[in-house]
Symmetry: C4
Subunit: 232 residues, 4 copies
């Protein structure tokens, strides 16, 4: 049995969730799953339709972005994944999609305001939207720099990647992550729904106020705090 | 056979309707079904995905919120259900979802205006949106207080829970109820569609007028009055 | 074999198209099919879910609204159907739904502007929205008067029911008709799509101009004129 | 075996993708596939529902619009296809739909602004919207002139049909093309998604800026340039 079989299976299953959850058109998305002990991750091959994927087709890549195993080319976003795995030591899965509502907010270059408890159940802050990269980064190693753009923006905002597991890249689209690939996929679906609800909220009331701090804290802590008890 | 088998089955079937009707993402919703004679209700266990539910997994809880039977933890919203069952003696089912359009109105903290006969077939009033709770209630027994927030707001508006079977909780999401769990699920689906139509109506005409009283009365009474004859 | 078997089958099949085309929630719609020679029509029974319908359950009603055959109560909108069949001698099918976008325009009490060729392929005019009825009509024989409200409005606008096969009733919802029940269902689906496109068009450009006359005429005549040749 | 079997199959399969991708209601769309060596293309017959299509029913037409083989009438848009094949020598497939969001932009007579990388992965320019035709063209050979309207507008904008494989025809709907019928269908789905995202972007931020040149160039070239490496 292949030594990376576990992450091949995990990445395969997580990738197959994206079309089921309505988060991708054609091949506009990818998921990776990391094996921290081996220092590698399995990622979707580039341009392969979801209905032709198999665990064997996943590409094994190290945290510097070098292909370790696999005959297909890894996703063009592989270097972004590699940078995040290398610097964020507690994540085990990453997802990138162009899901419709989250991407619209990214194109508008706006943070997604926290308007309700659906959002607060998952985050205590507005979903951050990193600004588009400067031209030097774009002309350089673009996908590699995308990883740094994400990390630097969270750092500048004083946010921990362990608490805020999602970001929009301005003019581009969302990235999410988590302890596992499944959790990262879950976060992508939650982000898309929160983005859709926030859009509708502003349409219904242009000056809708942000959620007040006491509710933000209550909802986040009942799900994530030391005394968490949440589940619907 | 389990003495609570009837409400286990009723709660199970009603919960399974939520994903079919497009009212929930993941586990963001719950339904309960009450046995008035026994003074208990069956409710969805916390955090269990819909495709893993069975009637046996439903948790039996009394109207003070104490678990009577079941090895799983009941939904985190259980105390809200318990309070409503305890004080509203004629209801037999309760539903809580974060359905997209109803939740957007809740986030906008607006009542849903009565714009047409689809709404009037089910309610004679704007769907009420209770204000977010004050900080004392939030810091206290939050889910228990949510039940009182709902009851107190309906009372303040002079509305009967037997006539108005749905409410938005500001910044949170909708709750619906009814004589049975099935009726409460039906009300959740109607509310979501009414919320969607009202949103679109205001987009098409910003100053759309409320439905006139004669039409409100006519539509509601042909369905719910002593001489009701409605059905499509 | 039942003497009305043909219209029972036609009404049954046409009713079953409504949920497939996404035009109804629960039982919020109904279709009828007429037998002109026998002077009757078959219509959906009141309040029966679509998945429990059978041809046998259709109710046979004459053009004055009297039930001729059937043990179930006919749709509460039956008198509206009867009035239209009685006065519009060339129609063979009628559909009433509360489809989302068409109903939102009805609630906004606005005609749907003709913005493009999708609309012009089916109508040369803005889709008319009849005003809400006056209180005398509402307090009288409501469903019967609804039929007259529709007929009187088309007449006042100088429109022929043979050319304009769809209308919105203000604050209520759409009605469509046609030579057959199938054609009336087709018209309901076209109306819903045209209503959705017109809504989006105004969102994208608030002052979007109506389609110019030469294009209206060209598109309508290539499909409906004496030298029609249209089909995609 | 029929000498045009290859393009019959290609056109059939591509046409069947349209309803699966949610791009057509009823028969509101058509795809053709060309055989450059034989100087003909296979196109959907007029008015035949998708679930009754077979490869045998495709109509074989030459680049002047004459039917070469087939007993059914070709799509009413056949002359538009013929003109484009005749003048654009490197395309092998054409698609016409009335997909909802792209058609709404066409009805608004607006180019679709390039707001993000989803768009830039496929085009470096705003999606062009050709103005409605003048009355002389409309009264003349309408479908034939539609082809010229498309070609003339791209030429006036200085765009190459090999780089920009999609256009909106003002007040009408989109046309897309490509080296194969499959690629043209892919372009139709991408256009619809880009149209939807651009609509939402402007709703979320009315003055959303266009994507900056460096990002446009980067994304397009990583997918289409001489050193392309793109795939998700």
């Amino acid at each position: 049995m292949n030594r990376y079989q576990d992450i091949r299976e995990a990445a395969y299953k997580a990738n197959m969730q994206l079309p089921k959850l309505g988060l991708v058109l054609f091949t506009f998305g990818n998921v990776s799953a990391a094996d921290r002990a081996a220092g590698v991750f399995a990622i979707k091959p580039s341009g392969v339709p979801y209905d032709e994927l198999t665990p064997d087709k996943m590409v094994i890549v190290d945290f510097d972005g070098n292909t370790v195993e696999g005959s297909l080319r890894p996703s063009s976003d592989t270097k972004t994944h590699a940078v995040l795995y290398k610097h964020w030591e507690k994540i085990g899965g990453i997802v990138h999609t162009h899901s419709t509502y989250a991407t619209a907010w990214a194109q508008a270059q706006r943070d997604i305001p926290i308007f309700g408890t659906t959002h607060a159940d998952h985050n205590t802050v507005d979903i951050p939207c990193a600004p588009p990269m400067d031209d030097k980064m774009i002309h350089g190693d673009y996908e590699y720099e995308t990883g740094f753009q994400i990390m630097d923006y969270l750092k500048a905002k004083g946010m921990s990647y362990e608490e805020v597991e999602m970001v929009l890249v301005g003019n581009h689209a969302p990235f999410t992550w988590g302890k596992t690939a499944d959790k990262a996929v879950y976060n992508s679906a939650v982000l898309e729904e929160v983005a859709r609800m926030a859009y509708l909220t502003e349409q219904i009331r242009a000056d809708a106020p942000r959620l007040k701090d006491s509710l933000i804290k209550k909802h986040y802590e009942r799900k994530h705090g030391p005394h968490s008890y949440y589940g619907q």
